[in-house]
Point group: C2
Chain length 96, copies 2
Amino acid sequence: MAKPTPLTDDEIQRRLPEIEGWCIDEGKLFKEYKFKDFIEAFGFMTRAAIIAQAMDHHPEWFNVYNKVRIHLTTHSAGGISEHDFELAQRLNKLAR
Amino acid sequence: MAKPTPLTDDEIQRRLPEIEGWCIDEGKLFKEYKFKDFIEAFGFMTRAAIIAQAMDHHPEWFNVYNKVRIHLTTHSAGGISEHDFELAQRLNKLAR
C-alpha cells in the first residue's frame, strides 16, 4: 500500500457530504453514533473493529452506554487521508 | 438490586489498593490498560463488554490501537460505588 498522503482542507470540505453526519473536530473526522442500548452500540463496535483491523486503519473511539464517538485521522500521513473517508463510509454503512 | 450508595472519599482511598493500577480521575475510577496490539485490546474490550452488560454496569471507555482507557462511576449513586470496585476488579482479572 502506498504511503497515504493528507488531503487538503479544500478536498476535505468538498468530500464531507459523501460521509453523512461526519464533521471536523480537532483536525480529525468526527462522528457520534447513537444506538438503542449498549448491546447495539458494542455490536456496532465489534463489527467496526473487524473492518478496521482488516484495513489496518484504527479509529480513536469512545463509548459510554449507547453512544460511540469516533475520531479518524491517519498518523502516517499527518492528517486526514483517503483511508479515513473510506473507513467513515464503511462505518456509516455498518450503522444503518 | 438495592440502589447503590456512593462511597466516601476515605473509603475510596482505603480501598484503592484492592484494584491495582486504578486511580481517581475527574471523580471517577480510572485506569489505562496497554496491550500488544489492537486485536488484544479489542479482545479485552469484548470480554469486558459481556461482563459489564451482565452486571448492568457500563464503563466509559476510550480505545486507540493497543490502549484502553476506562473511567468508572455509578450515575445512579452520584459517585463511585461498590459496583465500580467490583467491575474494576473483574477488569484487572480479565487483563491478566
